[in-house]
Structures are given as structure tokens and as C-alpha cells.
Symmetry: C2
Subunit: 354 residues, 2 copies
């Protein structure tokens, strides 16, 4: 594979010195880009797009052709694993992802197998290989997965939920069954992420979108414990470099100290936590990724620059910061505003690395 | 008015000794009760129910007739103030509350008046008076309002939102306009709550449902500052007793220390924060109300009792704890499970007060 021309992201994730703060955006390949919408239309459904390696590669690279981003992230969905388990993923307008066959009892949990990433999820690995080839060493490629707890909520609920009635219902009423489900998912995620690394992913991120709806005790037992198990099982070196792992629990600001002990290299942080406080919490043990509120991209370029400056200042001097939004970029955002953000990060971050 | 027969709630909110931990449940008058559903059907729409003092009183008292709760809470909606401002509140199936005339520019903010609680919101004050009469001193009555920031999000968005695109857009792009709007709302909420006290409310709660979607800096400036302004303007004594004020920011666990400085008497805490940690954060300056995950009510009676014991234990010994859920009770919950919760709190809390 081509030598990496821009390794700022990998260096920052390992708290190594960089010239300027690297930046990428969650959902940077997405609906706010007209070229994404065009490819999406060409592909058919959202899952058709995910399952077509050439088109998944095309949308992965689109934001990199527009902006001087420091990373690419695999275009895929967090629900590929449950889909590969045979749950029948589909997307219904206005309702988000749904499963034809939710997992709500012992029999359904027992029937679950661990998918072979190079079989049932080969389309993801093919996308990783295609993207790496097309990236040609411009920037590193981030692979990812949903966390076991996050995947379990969708699988038990049969889709998105506001109350987590069924998934928390299972957790509280039959914790052993929920642990069985989470164990199968942890094993599946481990294999899935290791296969992504084998296919060419150079960093990994675990999205724990729904860990933040748990109590501290339940977060530790039902979400963090399984992410730790995954991290233990991950291949941490590839192509002669360490493969950094980023853990991101949305609304996990109260637990950053514990998360930093998980064995990961970096933590994603949303905007409800100040990066200065987060840095104290993790005692510079891990790098931090974040944390601009994506709604700031609705404001004027001047305000966006001010807020970028404020986030850079809250992290302060020294290595270990990857600039990102605290959540995915919204579909209504003007791409020119994303350009302002990225330029501002590169321009304004230099003094923090001297 | 009748002498108060059970003042545990008022005493606990002021950190005074009690025999057992008082308990009430957010949305205790609600859809999980068949008798509520019957009254709701009789009333017509949800707002018809809120605007009918006799029926609002009827549903307020329903849970008290079933369970030995230690407080009643006024049955009403958090959006009565914007409705009284002329925004045209309505409820659409599946979408939640909507406003016919959202507030999205300078002209719309300038056109807003501060409602006179005994005129435009007289139906609320009539409900308070009716409930007090019918309560006959059984337990204290809690009055409430939404926080200015929470009301502003609905008013600017025109209803519920996931992204807060318009409300945060205004906050980031035209902060002066958002401050104008919040100033009018703070004045309106102050008058509204003082009128509830004059009509008979014996404790007050401010629901800051959406303060937790802000950054720490923006929470302080756009939500907490206006709640502090309200608290400064509240009448704090009535019928010869202090009227305690409870502040509840959902997902505000990271800011409890700051909230405790607001002049309030108690903080609502959701289940993402351990009460022992919360108590350290607020240094016993204020009482704490919470914090059982309402999803625990889907579990078996045995599990509910275990979890009640765990919450009581996390708060520990001494006064200043009001038991509650960390969020409203869900509509699908079996009322018998609520009974188990309430009985368990009373039974298991005695040793913590000896």
C-alpha cells in the first residue's frame, strides 16, 4: 500500500507531536453534500449504497476532494452486524432503521451466530480495500463499529427508540440474557474490526451512541465492560504502525475517567463537556477527539471561527487533540460552512503546537 | 386552608429531618393509569383537559387515591406560557406539541407580551385553587413551569426537535435576540410561578428539559442564568412556610455544583448520575430529588425493590432526599409496579433516618 502522506491523525491519537491539529467530521460523507445526494440517488436505498463497495468508496472520498480533511472514515452503517446476523434491516421513512426480526427472547438470542466478516460482511471489507486503494496514502482511513450495547438496543427494540423500554426492560428483568446478547455482539464486533484492519483500516472508532442513557453502574456493566473486551481482542498493529482505537459514548461526559482506563487510545467527547475538564478527568492518559456543537455550523463564518478558536483554547497546548464535531454534521448545513471550520482549525491551531 | 397532614416533602426539600423518605413520581398523573385515560377521553383533547380546572384536579388526585404518595403535582403542560402568548399550541399525533406561529425573528420576539397569570392563564390558577381545596391538606401541592431555555426551544422550532437547529441557530448566530426572548420568558415564568404560589402551590419545580443539550458555557449563559433570575424573583414564603424550589435539568449531571449555587432548595437528578456523587458535587447545600430509571418499572417487583434499595443506599443517611424517578413514568407501565416502588421507598428508607 502507498506510504501515508498525512499522518497527523494517527500521531495526534497517540499523543505524539503534530504541526497543526488534525480535523475530521463525524458524518463528513453525508447528506449535506450535493455530490453525496447524487450518488445516493444513483445507488437506490441507503443499504444499497453501503453494500456497493465502489459507491461506498466514492462517497467516502467526496468530502476529501472538497476539504483538506486529515482523515477518511469508512462509509457504512452501524447496523451492518445485526443485519448480517439475519435480523432483516430496513429503513422506513421518518422512522429510521428497523429490523424485521427483533431479538426479544432466549430463543432469539440463542439463534444468533457471530458473522464471518469476510463472508456476510464482505461488502464492508471490499469497501475498505477499495477506499485504501483510491485514497493512495492521502490520509489514514478510520474503520468503525457500533458498540455492543448500542447494537443491542436496536436489536431488542426492533429499531430506534425514545424510552428504551424493551432493551432496558430486558437488562433489568433478565440481565443474564442481556449479557448473553452482549457477549455475542462483543465477539462479532471484535472480529469485524480486526477484519477491517486486515483490509486496510488504520484507526478504529467504536460508536457507543446509547451508552449515555444508562446509570453509571449499568454503563460500566452493560456497555463499557463489553467495549473493554473488544479492545482486548483487537489487533493493535498493522503495516508497522499502531492502530489507535477511539471510544465515543454520546452523553458520556461523566464517565471519561473510567473510559480512559479501557485500553483505548482516544476518547470522543461531545460538547456538553469542556475539553479542559475532560483533559483533567483523563489526566492526559488518552487523546481527546471533539467537540464542537454541530449547530454552530448554522451560524456565520465569523462565529464559526470564534467557536473553533474557543474549542482549541479549551483543549490548550500540547499534543493529543483531534478536532471534530461532538456529533454528526447535520444534513441542512451549508458545505461552505464546513470549509470555514476546517480551514479555521488548521490556521488557528498552529500556536498550540509550537 | 386546611393544615398540612403530611409535610415530609417540604421538610425533605429543606433538608430537615423526616421519618421516612418522601416519594412522588414525575407524570404520576398520566397515561399509565386507566382512570386517567378515562378522564382524558371525557375531556377531549389534551389541552382541553389542562384547561378544565375540575378535570385537571380530578387527574391530579387520581394517583393519590391509589398510592400513598407524599406530594401532588399540578396537572398541566409546560407550554401553557407560550400558548398564552398567542403562539397557537396544538398537539399532532406522533409529532408532539406544535405551534402555529413559531418565534423566529426580531419582529416575532418584539411582539411577545408577558402573560398575566390571572387572565390568560387563569385556568391554571383555578386548577391550583381547586386541587388545594380537594386535597384538603393530605399532602403538599407542587406547582411548576418549564425553564426559559426549554420554552424557547419549542417556540423557535415550532415544536419538538431532535437537532435544535433553529433554536441553537438563533443562539449562535444572534445571541442578543435569544437573550431578549429568554428575558421575556424569565419574567413570564416568575409571574406564573408566583401566581401559582398565591393560588396555593406549596413547592415549585422548574423543568429544564433541554438545558442538557448545551455546552457548559452556553448552559450557564442561556439556561441557568435565567433560572437564577426567576428564583431571585420568586416569593419564597406562603401560609407561614418556606416554598421550596426544585431545579431539574435533564442530562445536567455535569453541572450540579453550579446549579446548587442558583438559590434553589433542591435539585432533580436523573439516573445518569449516582446520588452519592451528586451529594459530593452539591456538598449537601441543597436537597436531591431522584433518581430511579423509569424503565426499572418494566422489571419484576423483586427487581424494583432491589433498585429502590440501591437508590436509597446511594443517597445514604441523613435528610435531604426526595425519592422520584429520573424522568416521567412511561405510559406502558403497570400501575401495580408503581405501587411496589412507593411501598418499597417508605419501607426501606426508615433506617436512613434513624
Amino acid at each position: 500500500m502507498s506510504a501515508l502522506k498525512n499522518d497527523r491523525l494517527l500521531r495526534a491519537l497517540l499523543c505524539e507531536p503534530v504541526d497543526i491539529t488534525p480535523v475530521w467530521m463525524m458524518r463528513q460523507a453525508g447528506r449535506y453534500l450535493p455530490e453525496y445526494r447524487a450518488t445516493r440517488q444513483k445507488a437506490g436505498s441507503f443499504m444499497d449504497l453501503c453494500q456497493n463497495p465502489e459507491l461506498a468508496c466514492e462517497v467516502t472520498l467526496q468530502p476529501l476532494d472538497r476539504f483538506p480533511l486529515d482523515a477518511a472514515i469508512l462509509f457504512s452503517d452501524i447496523l451492518t452486524i445485526p443485519d448480517a446476523m439475519g435480523l432483516g434491516l430496513y429503513f422506513s421513512e421518518g422512522e429510521g432503521p428497523r429490523f424485521e426480526r427483533p431479538v426479544q427472547d432466549v430463543a432469539a438470542v440463542r439463534a444468533l451466530g457471530v458473522p464471518d466478516p469476510e463472508q456476510e460482511l464482505k461488502y464492508v471489507m471490499d469497501a475498505v480495500r477499495t477506499i485504501r486503494r483510491e485514497l493512495d496514502g492521502r490520509v489514514p482511513l478510520i474503520g468503525f463499529s457500533g458498540s455492543p450495547w448500542t447494537l443491542a438496543t436496536y436489536m431488542v427494540e426492533g429499531g430506534s427508540t425514545k424510552n428504551f423500554a424493551k432493551s432496558k426492560g430486558m437488562m433489568f428483568d433478565d440481565p443474564a440474557l442481556m449479557h448473553d446478547l452482549l457477549g455475542i455482539l462483543a465477539e462479532s464486533v471484535t472480529r469485524y474490526l480486526n477484519a477491517q484492519v486486515a483490509a486496510g483500516a488504520q484507526a478504529l472508532m467504536i460508536f457507543d451512541t446509547w451508552g449515555g442513557v444508562l446509570s453509571p453502574r449499568d454503563y460500566a456493566a452493560f456497555s463499557l465492560a463489553y467495549m473493554e473486551r473488544i479492545i482486548e481482542g483487537l489487533v493493535r498493529e498493522s503495516e508497522g504502525r499502531r492502530v489507535p482505537v477511539i471510544l465515543f459514548t454520546k452523553n458520556g461526559g461523566q464517565w471519561l475517567g473510567r473510559m480512559a482506563e479501557s485500553g483505548c487510545d482516544a476518547l470522543g467527547v461531545d460538547w456538553t463537556t469542556d475539553l479542559a475538564d475532560a483533559r483533567v478527568q483523563v489526566r492526559d492518559k488518552v487523546a481527546l477527539q471533539g467537540n464542537l456543537d454541530p449547530c454552530i455550523l448554522y451560524a456565520s463564518p465569523e462565529r464559526i471561527r470564534e467557536e473553533v478558536a474557543s474549542v482549541l483554547d479549551s483543549y490548550g497546548h500540547g499534543p493529543g487533540h483531534v478536532f471534530n464535531l461532538g456529533h454528526g454534521i447535520h444534513p441542512e448545513v451549508d458545505p461552505e460552512h464546513a470549509a470555514v471550520l476546517i480551514e479555521a482549525v488548521h490556521e488557528l491551531s498552529r500556536p498550540y503546537h509550537s
